[in-house]
């Protein structure tokens, strides 16, 4: 029934968890977090290893979350306490995680899960093959979205949002901004790793290289969703993150169908993000041009009038009323 759109929809929902995490750092904390490229495979590695050791996949997925939260804590610590720049802090954690992930996977770069029962196979057994994964991922991502919506309106949630908006102000109101930032990064990377755990179960393997480019793909999804929804509230912003994730996977499927080589997609994604980030600039430049044109077309008298000193302006006004 869903035909070729089943796969991108499934992916979009599964990666939607990751995109919510990226939204949390990128938009709420105003922090471009590259830990993602490491915490995503971390979640996959933890879940895959745990499942092959006989741990229930639900617990394995949760373990993945906590692993990611730990990674986020490290990045947060590097950034807030050791004052390492946000980008570099993320890169350092990500780089270290590569070795950690290989360790967790017992030195292998790939763990197959084909023979294992996973959350995905369980859902497919219950609901049916076509809708199993979609229902499972959809359920998880909606729950997380709703919890996030609530959380971002709590007292702590408001403080977290203020950390990204106006750090000086919220510090003056008594929030330990370092602690909040670390916490935010922990939750975000927990979500990212959880997405990694779930994607590993979905594709039936964990691979140490599966994280490359996920941070940028996450950003692209956030931006894509915002371009369509133009969210003004938290509720719509998290919705746009999830929809952006689905849209991004659709776009990729479409691009592949249109004849793009799979290997070119990273470039397409990067260009998409660059374009979206440059958009405000482009708009600004257009506005400047428009103003300049408007100035040219208005009569010289008006322009003169504007540049007159205030005193003469008042004088001329008086004259006009006479």
């Amino acid at each position: 029934m869903l035909g070729i759109w089943a796969t991108p929809l499934e992916q979009g929902l599964a990666y939607g968890i990751l995109v919510l995490g990226v939204y949390l750092t990128f938009r709420i904390l105003n922090y471009a977090d590259l830990t993602v490229d490491g915490s995503f495979p971390l979640g996959a590695a933890i879940a895959a290893t745990a499942i092959t050791k006989g741990i229930h996949p639900a617990y394995a997925t949760m373990l993945g979350f906590f692993g990611g939260a730990l990674a986020g804590t490290v990045t947060g610590f590097l950034n807030t306490k050791l004052k390492i720049s946000s980008l570099l802090a993320g890169i350092l954690t990500m780089t270290g995680l590569y070795s950690v992930n290989l360790r967790i996977m017992g030195g292998r770069s790939n763990i197959p899960l084909l023979r294992e029962a996973t959350l995905v196979t369980m859902a497919q057994d219950k609901i049916g093959f076509e809708w199993g994964a979609i229902c499972l991922f959809g359920f998880i991502v909606v729950i997380i979205k709703l919890v996030l919506d609530y959380f971002l309106h709590t007292e702590i949630g408001l403080g977290l949002r203020a950390c990204g908006d106006n750090e000086k102000m919220i510090k003056a109101l008594g929030v330990d901004t370092d602690l909040y930032k670390i916490f935010g990064l922990a939750v975000a990377n927990g979500l990212v790793a959880m997405a990694g755990s779930i994607v590993a179960q979905y594709q039936a393997f964990a691979d140490v290289g599966m994280g490359i480019g996920t941070a940028v793909a996450g950003l692209a999804s956030v931006i894509l969703g915002e371009a369509i929804i133009r969210p003004k509230t938290i509720w719509t912003a998290t919705l746009s993150a999830v929809l952006g994730s689905i849209l991004y996977r659709f776009t990729i499927t479409f691009a592949l169908r249109a004849g793009f080589a799979a290997t070119d997609l990273r470039l397409v994604t990067a260009v998409l993000v660059i374009f979206a980030l440059a958009l405000p600039r482009i708009k600004e430049m257009k506005l400047v041009k428009k103003i300049a044109e408007a100035k040219k077309t208005t009569t010289s008298q008006v322009v003169k009038h504007k540049t007159q000193p205030a005193s003469t302006l008042i004088g001329s006004e008086k004259h006009a009323t006479d």
């Binding site: 309106h153 709590t154 007292e155 403080g159 949002r161 106006n166 510090k171 003056a172 008594g174 901004t177």
Partner: protein, 263 residues
């Protein structure tokens, strides 16, 4: 209420140069004092306020509020005692968040924050308080603060700083970015809030007229120290002109001192 003893702060400007922003500064404010602070650019006024709020750590000396030594307290912990309004209207509010969310954050100043909804039950209270401002903000609770004018933002910041009554209110040129009429409004508003709560206030201003009119005490800072402390009769007898004169005298004295040292 506020006791500052022998406070020193030196900034490293890089390249081996240093700036002594506060030099052996002593200052005591009584409960209910409304102190206006004047002094030329770079005198150390903002630094003094920042030190009291805990933005910078002291090199030496002590700061105490009501007998509690807070010198080593981090800024977020001092927020329990201190409310602040900055010069830049953008500085005191979170622009992407709504008016009611900003108020909700201020309502928890210096207290434990939890997992209860921030605004929820307080909306009625916020509405009533905003109505008192008479700026029409009570109808815009769900508007993002970045949509407000500078004056409206500053009025909101002032409300936020005093929503949870602070022991000490720090105002750093909080009307400097506003047009004269709005500035007047904000000053009146400041006055009424301070009177209502009997707050202790430190207010930096470059408006000498205002410095003498508002509050009960005026200090002048220069080169990181307090060079003039006016209160009571002495302050009443001081005019803007004589304050200006004091300004130039202070500068000259320092200049002569330096000359004497060099000679």
């Amino acid at each position: 209420m506020l006791q500052i003893e022998n406070l020193n702060k030196t900034f490293e400007l890089g390249g081996g140069t240093f700036k002594r922003a506060l030099v052996d500064l002593d200052f005591v404010a009584q409960e209910g004092d409304f102190v206006t602070i004047v002094g030329s650019n770079g005198a150390g006024k903002s630094t003094l306020l920042n030190m009291v709020a805990g933005v910078y750590a002291a090199d030496s000396g002590t700061i105490a509020i009501d007998g509690t030594d807070i010198t080593s307290w981090p800024e977020h912990k001092r927020a329990k005692f201190v409310g602040r309004v900055f010069q830049d209207p953008m500085m005191g509010t979170a622009g992407s968040m709504t008016i009611e969310e900003n108020l909700a954050m201020a309502y928890k100043r210096g207290q434990r924050r939890g997992l209860k909804l921030g605004v929820a039950r307080n909306r009625v209270k916020f509405k009533a308080l905003l109505a008192e401002l008479d700026l029409g903000l009570e109808k815009r609770l769900k508007d993002q603060v970045r949509l407000l004018s500078g004056g409206q933002r500053q009025a909101l910041t002032l409300m936020m700083a005093t929503l949870k009554t602070p022991q000490l209110l720090l105002l750093d040129e909080h009307t400097a970015a506003l047009d004269p009429k709005t500035a007047r409004r904000i000053i009146d508003l400041t006055q009424s809030i301070v009177d209502n709560h009997g707050l202790t206030v430190l207010m930096v201003t470059h408006n000498l007229q205002q410095a003498l009119e508002v509050g009960n005490r005026t200090i002048m800072m220069h080169d990181g120290g307090i060079v003039l402390d006016l209160q009571g009769r002495k302050r009443e007898d001081t005019s803007v002109d004589s304050l200006l004169e004091a300004f130039s005298r202070v500068k000259k004295e320092r200049f002569l001192d330096d000359r004497a040292l060099l000679a």
